[in-house]
C-alpha cells in the first residue's frame, strides 16, 4: 500500500518545485510569447545573474536577498545593450536568424563566464537559510522552494497585470500582434521591443539569483533549465502568461510523483516532463481540427 504521507509530500514538493520552473520560464514567455524573439541565450542571462549574485556575495558580502535588487537591473541593462547592438537588426529577419544570433550570443556569454570564473562550480557559502525547512506535521516544506514559488507567483501575476493593464504592456501586445500597424498608430516599436527584451533579461536574472542559492553556478548551468523553459512556454501557449504557472505546476507535480513513487524515479523526471509536453502538444493540435 502506498504511504499517503509520501504522496502528500510528493505533491507539496512538486508544487514548490513549480516555482523554480515558472521563475525561469516567465522571462522567456515574455520574449517568445509576447514579442516573438526566440532567445536561445535566455539560459545564459540566467547564468550571468547567478554569477553576479555569487560575485556580489564573495566580493562585498551582499546577501542574495539584497543582491536581487542589484542583479535585476544589471541584467536589464545587459539585455538592453544586447538588444540595441544586435537583436534589433534581426527582428524583421526570419525566426531562424534570431535563433542563430541568440545562439551565438549564448556561446559568447557562456565562454566569457568560463574565462572569468573558470569551470569549477562556485558556491555562495555562509548563508544560513539555504537548508531551512519547516515541518508541517509529517510534511516538510523548504524555505527556499517556498520563497521561489512565492516570487515566481508574484512575477507571473505581475507580468500578466502589466501586459493587461498598463500602457507599456498594451504597447507590447500591440507590437507583437502587428508590428506595422503598431507603428502606424504611433507606437515607438523599437523602444517597446527594447523594454520588453530588457524586462525578459531582468526576469531571467532574478531566476539566476535564486539558482545561485539553490545550486552551484557553473557556466553551463543554463542549458537544462532553458530546454525545459522553452517547453513550458510553448506548451502553455504563446502569449499566455498565466498559463506558464499552470503548465509549471502540472509538469512539476507529475515529475515529483514519479520521482517519489517509482524506484529510481528521479531519473525519469525528464522523460515524464517531455512526454507530457509531447502528448499535450500533439493532442491539442488534433483537437483544433
Amino acid at each position: 500500500m502506498i504511504d499517503p504521507t509520501l504522496v502528500l509530500q510528493a505533491l507539496v514538493s512538486g508544487i514548490l518545485a513549480a516555482g523554480l520552473y515558472a521563475l525561469v520560464s516567465v522571462g522567456l514567455a515574455l520574449a517568445i510569447g509576447v514579442i516573438g524573439i526566440v532567445n536561445f541565450a535566455h539560459g545564459e542571462f540566467f547564468m550571468v545573474g547567478a554569477f553576479f549574485a555569487y560575485q556580489l556575495f564573495v566580493s562585498f558580502g551582499i546577501d542574495p536577498i539584497v543582491s536581487l535588487f542589484l542583479v535585476a537591473p544589471a541584467l536589464a541593462l545587459i539585455g538592453a545593450a544586447i538588444y540595441a547592438s544586435t537583436i534589433r537588426f534581426v527582428l524583421k529577419a526570419p525566426e531562424l536568424n534570431q535563433m542563430l544570433l541568440t545562439f551565438g550570443l549564448g556561446i559568447i556569454l557562456q565562454n566569457l563566464a568560463l574565462l572569468v570564473w573558470g569551470g569549477d562550480p562556485r558556491t555562495i557559502a555562509g548563508i544560513p537559510y539555504r537548508s531551512v525547512g519547516f515541518e508541517l506535521g509529517p510534511i516538510s516544506v523548504g524555505l527556499v522552494p517556498l520563497a521561489s514559488f512565492l516570487i515566481s507567483l508574484a512575477l507571473v501575476l505581475g507580468l500578466y497585470w502589466m501586459l493587461a493593464r498598463t500602457a507599456t504592456g498594451r504597447a507590447m501586445r500591440a507590437v507583437a500582434q502587428n508590428r506595422v500597424g503598431a507603428a502606424l498608430v504611433g507606437l515607438e516599436v523599437n523602444r517597446v521591443y527594447l523594454v520588453a527584451f530588457s524586462l525578459s533579461a531582468l526576469l531571467a536574472g532574478i531566476g539566476g539569483v535564486m539558482i545561485a542559492v539553490i545550486q552551484s553556478p557553473t557556466p553551463t548551468i543554463g542549458l537544462a533549465f532553458t530546454l525545459k523553459a522553452f517547453a513550458i512556454v510553448v506548451v502553455s501557449g504563446l502569449g499566455n502568461i498565466r498559463g506558464v504557472l499552470f503548465a509549471s505546476l502540472f509538469v512539476a507535480i507529475a515529475e515529483s510523483m514519479v520521482a517519489t513513487l517509482v524506484p529510481n524515479g528521479d531519473t525519469l523526471r525528464n522523460a515524464v516532463f517531455f512526454a507530457i509536453i509531447f502528448v499535450v502538444l500533439v493532442w491539442r493540435s488534433r483537437r483544433i481540427a
Binding site: 509520501l6 514538493s13 569551470g119 537544462a224 528521479d266
Partner: protein, 400 residues
C-alpha cells in the same frame, strides 16, 4: 691561428648546443579545457604547467627544456580523437599524457593501438569489470606494453570507499547515485562490496545529476533514503550536485550518522557553508595534507596560481609529467623500449607521495590504487583528513 681555431670551436660548440636544444622532448597532453568538465581540465593544466616549470628549472629532459602541447578534448569523443591525431601526426609527439573522461578514453583506444605511443593516462576509471557485455578500458588495453594507467580504477575507488564505510561502524547504508556510466556501475560495485562485508543496503536509488541535465531537485530520492533510517548515506555524483544534495538533506531533516560522498571534485568555497558541517568525502589530494611533498606542492601551486590546488587532478597531472621527465632522463634516450623499462622499474614523485607502476586486475601498469584515496570531513570550515587513520589530521565526528 689560435684565435681562429678557438672561435671555430666556440661556433661548433654553440651549434651543437643549439641542435640539442632544438631536439627537446615534447609531450602531448589531452585534457577537457572547455565543456562540462572544464573545471577538471583547467586543474590538470595547472598541474602540468607547474611541473613543467620545475622540470625545466631542474635542467629539463635529456639536457634540453621539456615542452608540452596541450590539446582540448572538450570531453567529447570526436573532438578528442581529432586532438590525439593532431598530436601524433602534425606535432609528432611520442609521449601522451592527460586524460579524464572514460567515454573519451574509450573512443581513443583504437587510435592508441594504431599509433602506439607511450600513453600515461590520468583519467578513465572505467575498467569494465563487473559490467556484462561491456568492455572497459582496463579490459581493452590494460595489457598493452605502452599503456600506463595512473588514476585508480573504479574498483579501487569502490574498495576505498567501502573500506571507509565499514570502518565507521555503520551497519546500514543508503546508496544514492547519479545515473550514468560513472555512478551506475560504481554503485552496483559498492553495494556488492558492502553486502559482502556484512552491511545491509536497504536502498540503492538513482538520480539525474545536475551535470547531465537534471534540475537539482533530489528531494524525492532523499526522502526515500530518510525512510530507511540508515546509519550512513553514501552518494555518488558530480561536484555540481554537492550543494543541492547536502542542503536538501538538511531541509528534509534527514540526519544519518554519516554523510559520505564520492564526486570527482568538490565546489570551491563549500567548506564555509553550514551544510558542509560533518559531511565526509572521498578525495585524492588535499592542500592541507601534512606531508612534505604535499606542502611543497601546495605552496608552489598557490604561489604560481594564486589559489590552492583544490582539485586532485592537479596533483595527478603534476605526477604525470614528472614521471615522464624522470623516466626519460633515467633512460637517457627517447627510445620507447628504454623509456618503458624505466617507467616499469622506477619510483616517481608526487604531492601524494612516492609511487610506481604495478600490475592491476587486468592491467600491466597501474600507478595509484586504493591507497591514493583519503576521506576528509568538513569540520568548522576546514577539511580534516579522517581516514585512513594513519594519515588523519582529526578524528571522525558523527553527524548526530
Amino acid at each position: 691561428m689560435q684565435r681562429t681555431v678557438r672561435s671555430l670551436f666556440t661556433m661548433l660548440a654553440l651549434l651543437a648546443l643549439g641542435a640539442a636544444a632544438a631536439q627537446g622532448v615534447t609531450i602531448g597532453v589531452l585534457t577537457p579545457l572547455t565543456g562540462g568538465a572544464a573545471g577538471t581540465g583547467q586543474a590538470q593544466r595547472a598541474g602540468f604547467e607547474l611541473a613543467l616549470d620545475e622540470i625545466n628549472a631542474a635542467g629539463g629532459v635529456l639536457g634540453a627544456p621539456l615542452s608540452i602541447i596541450i590539446e582540448d578534448t572538450q570531453a567529447n569523443a570526436a573532438v578528442g580523437l581529432a586532438a590525439f591525431e593532431k598530436l601524433m601526426t602534425e606535432d609528432g609527439v611520442e609521449f601522451i599524457a592527460g586524460g579524464y573522461s572514460s567515454g573519451v578514453t574509450l573512443a581513443l583506444i583504437e587510435s592508441f593501438r594504431t599509433f602506439q605511443p607511450i600513453v600515461m593516462w590520468i583519467g578513465g576509471a572505467v575498467s569494465g569489470i563487473g559490467i556484462d557485455g561491456f568492455d572497459g578500458i582496463e579490459e581493452l588495453i590494460g595489457q598493452e606494453d605502452w599503456f600506463f594507467h595512473v588514476h585508480p580504477w573504479d574498483y579501487h575507488n569502490v574498495e576505498a570507499a567501502t573500506g571507509f564505510v565499514a570502518d565507521t561502524g555503520s551497519s546500514s547504508v543508503a546508496l544514492l547515485h547519479e545515473d550514468s556510466a560513472f555512478g551506475g556501475p560504481g554503485s552496483a560495485g559498492a553495494q556488492a562490496l558492502l553486502e559482502g562485508a556484512g552491511l545491509t543496503v536497504p536502498l540503492r536509488e538513482a538520480f539525474t545529476s545536475t551535470l547531465l541535465g537534471g534540475t537539482g531537485d533530489f528531494r524525492a530520492a532523499i526522502a526515500k533514503a530518510a525512510a530507511t533510517d540508515a546509519d550512513l548515506l553514501y552518494w555518488i555524483g558530480y561536484d555540481s550536485d554537492v550543494v543541492p544534495l547536502t542542503s536538501q538533506i538538511r531541509e528534509l531533516n534527514f540526519r544519518p550518522q554519516y554523510i559520505f560522498g564520492a564526486p570527482p571534485g568538490w565546489p570551491t568555497e563549500f567548506a564555509a557553508a553550514p551544510e558542509a558541517q560533518c559531511v565526509t568525502g572521498l578525495i585524492g589530494f588535499l592542500p592541507n595534507l601534512p606531508t612534505p611533498e604535499a606542502q611543497a606542492f601546495t605552496t608552489a601551486y598557490t604561489a604560481k596560481f594564486g589559489s590552492e590546488p583544490d582539485n586532485y587532478f592537479s596533483a595527478l597531472a603534476y605526477a604525470n609529467l614528472w614521471a615522464y621527465a624522470d623516466a626519460i632522463n633515467a633512460a637517457g634516450t627517447t627510445d620507447q623500449a628504454a623509456v618503458i623499462a624505466e617507467l616499469e622499474a622506477g619510483t616517481f614523485r608526487s604531492p601524494i607521495g612516492d609511487w610506481s607502476f604495478q600490475p592491476s586486475e587486468l592491467g600491466k601498469h597501474q600507478g595509484f590504487t586504493t591507497d591514493l584515496w583519503l576521506v576528509f570531513q568538513y569540520q568548522d570550515g576546514v577539511r580534516e583528513i579522517v581516514w585512513p587513520v594513519e594519515k588523519a589530521t582529526a578524528p571522525l565526528v558523527s553527524c548526530r
